[in-house]
Symmetry: C2
Subunit: 456 residues, 2 copies
């Protein structure tokens, strides 16, 4: 694969302009107004896969947004790699905080700025181009399948059914996913753990209409004040979540395992400076990396109620709302946690209000072993292109579908991510360094090479 | 004044269509986009006052929205009544909860539905028509001045200066205000107490950008969760406000005074049913009427932060906001309370966040005696038209300017309100019963009659 670097160098402008085409389709899965954009993005990918060398590619309808499936089968006796990615992106709001329009990609300071630049259009697209290279240069050593979905950011509600119904078509030896990040541009890492997720929306209703806060204030419970008290009580003074039964299935790691984890390079001062906080906060007794890697968490993702425009309106609001999500560790069941949360939240509501808890979505955590052929092939690929052996790390993020793949398809996934924590995925000014983008394209073909060799 | 009822009966359709003209001007003082509407409304009132019989009326510019002043001086040796009202209204949001458009008045079930139908276009307008009657029928027994402002709903920031600069022009013996409510359509009452107000907006900042709630959740303090804890701690388990020094100037009423207050008719079941709550809530040891009448309160009027659109976005927000107002009782100083709140809120912020407290507006509480000529004239006027002596009550609302009138102009105010608690002022579907509207026009002339007689 001596020509790989040259190939990327000679085609880099084309790679970028192709990716930009995909980014310009605002495929926001959470927003109904983008329904048509989802089909456009899926169709674009299917056509691209065929152009890049796939035998065929098809857009599959689901109950939600479509799934793109494509394949190149060179020899049925060879191993098969299934590449998973997603073409849907998070909402771009708040729009006024973007320095350049979210869906108009722009390169500044060596980075692509746009919604989806990293998560996951940029990272999925590296696989298309690595595949193109292997096919065009006749170096593809095994069969490849692609499954690119459009509902990852809303919890992949249709993908489980899709996998169930297409087990044979999706049959593979390993699933390859680039939807995570590395420690830093010169410290490669492979994600070996993911957290699960339970996402709910709560509604707290006080009086049947907004009341005058002078005429009623002090005599009628204010649902915003009440909800603040309820949310406040969800974590205690040690940063532990108070939902009854929440920690029942949480696995405590051994001191040895924690010592091993602590060896990953981490600079707390740099971490704080980068997000501009004077102090970090979280569960007492755990380090920052442990708090995201091996411990569950509870965050309000959004809150609203009453008058939120400019100026002063003196009302006692009728309703208050919050979106609350919990990140879970392996063994915690997302549906069970949703039930525990609902029961707990209802139980702490005073009689002055009515409470509704709506489950939005969820998924399970995941841990992958490091002593497998698949992990070793990935490790060697990074070592070849980055010159350093990657560190296995547990990420705080969730890709709920990974544990589902194992359950439904019986196949383990390898999380070969090339993002950086500074990419601001999900936030305004999401970006992806060009260097990571091109380096990813230069790393992936080695995985195929080593994997095919090791499986012989 | 035997012709009064006839006069109202014969002109009632015209009265209504004139009021509707005023209501259709969306004079929302809190919203910059309605700046021109404020001038239109002021100009409309000035022209109306002259048409109704004023010698002159003028629109005065201020640093904010204009003030309308008009007068009819019949004999300088006679007493002078200054009528105060306001033409500005609260924002109409949330618009989707209105059954008919907020600025398109509609009569349903004997009530006028529109923003400002009661507060305070409807109530101010009754004075214009009572004045018209007295002038047209030659029965005006004293001098009348009108001061109708456009900033009451945002705390009257310009009216203090206007009064200071126009003391001579505004000289009067009593100020008459209709901007409060009665106990019920057949139980007239006169408001003898008002609460003060301190209104602030708080901003709580965590990380410098929205973060991925998976990658950071559990390790970085979430400003929404933090703000919930801070707001939750502002009131204790007995419903008392915890801001340090908050109760220092609160006057405790004697058991006798509380017993006297408790004689006002009040039906808790009806109260709860009307706003659809299973239980009321508030400061322990006080009745519902005491909680709004003689005790201060703290309400979140609005809260927002993070992702508030449809669907799920997994972010750890950068910022959280809340609008918080406190109703104050006489002797509490609104500016001092604002300072106490700011100091307290800053002191309870953990080091994981940065906090800003912005003072939006405020005003002082007010108590008026019942043994004055002015009160007795008002009492007799209600007794004449309603057939019952009105009950003096302390309202929970605030008209900050009333205490300022006493301080700057040296004149006491009489709060002759004709609204009902069910009028939903400040909320969606604000309304004003036609019966109250016409009855108000039939009551006000008697105040002038009795007042002029008593002052002889």
């Amino acid at each position: 694969m001596k020509d790989l670097k040259n190939y990327v160098e000679q085609n880099k402008d084309r790679f970028l302009s192709e990716l930009f085409e995909l980014i310009r389709i605002p495929s926001v899965s959470a927003q109904e107004s983008h329904k048509d954009d989802m089909y456009r993005a899926a169709q674009w990918i299917a056509e691209k896969l065929v152009a890049d060398g796939a035998d065929k590619a098809e857009v599959f309808k689901t109950d939600g947004h479509p799934v793109v499936y494509g394949e190149k089968i060179i020899d049925k006796s060879l191993p098969t790699v299934l590449v998973y990615g997603h073409y849907d992106v998070q909402p771009a709001e708040p729009l006024d905080l973007w320095k350049s329009p979210a869906f108009e990609p722009e390169v500044r300071e060596g980075k692509i700025f746009a919604r989806g630049a990293d998560d996951d259009k940029g990272q999925s697209f590296m696989h298309f181009k690595a595949f193109e290279y292997m096919v065009k240069t006749g170096q593809l050593p095994c069969n490849v399948k692609f499954m690119i979905e459009g509902e990852e950011e809303i919890g992949s509600p249709s993908l489980g059914k899709f996998c169930e119904q297409n087990k044979k078509m999706l049959a593979s030896d390993v699933i390859l996913v680039s939807d995570t990040s590395m420690i830093s541009p010169d410290i490669p890492s492979i994600t070996t753990g993911l957290r699960g997720l339970t996402y709910v929306e709560v509604e707290v209703t006080g009086p049947n209409r907004d009341l005058h806060s002078g005429l009623y204030g002090g005599a009628v419970a204010n649902p915003v004040n009440v909800m603040a008290k309820m949310i406040a009580s969800l974590t205690d003074e040690n940063g532990r979540i108070t939902v009854k039964g929440f920690y029942d299935d949480v696995e405590e790691l051994s001191d040895e395992e924690r010592k091993e984890m602590a060896r990953a390079p981490f600079n707390l001062d740099h971490y704080k400076k980068e997000i501009d906080v004077a102090e970090v906060g979280g569960e007492k007794g755990y380090s920052t990396n442990e708090r995201t890697g091996i411990r569950p968490s509870l965050d309000v993702n959004g809150i609203w109620g009453g008058y939120t425009e400019k100026g002063a309106k003196t009302i006692l609001p009728s309703k208050a709302y919050a979106k609350i999500s919990m990140r879970l560790v392996p063994h915690q069941d997302s549906k069970k946690i949703a039930e525990l949360f609902k029961a707990h939240f209802e139980s702490i509501a005073p009689k002055t209000v009515k409470v509704k808890v709506n489950y939005l979505h969820g998924g399970e955590g995941y841990v992958s072993p490091t002593d497998t052929v698949e992990y070793q092939a990935a490790s060697k690929a990074y070592e070849t292109s980055f010159g350093k052996k990657p560190i296995p790390v547990r990420s705080g993020g969730s890709i709920p579908i990974i544990s589902l793949f194992e359950k439904v398809l019986g196949v383990k996934s390898i999380l070969m991510g090339f993002g950086l924590e500074s990419d601001a995925i999900h936030g305004p000014n999401e970006n992806y360094p060009l260097q990571q983008f091109y380096k990813g394209i230069e790393t992936i073909p080695y995985f195929y090479k080593y994997y095919a060799e090791m499986k012989k």
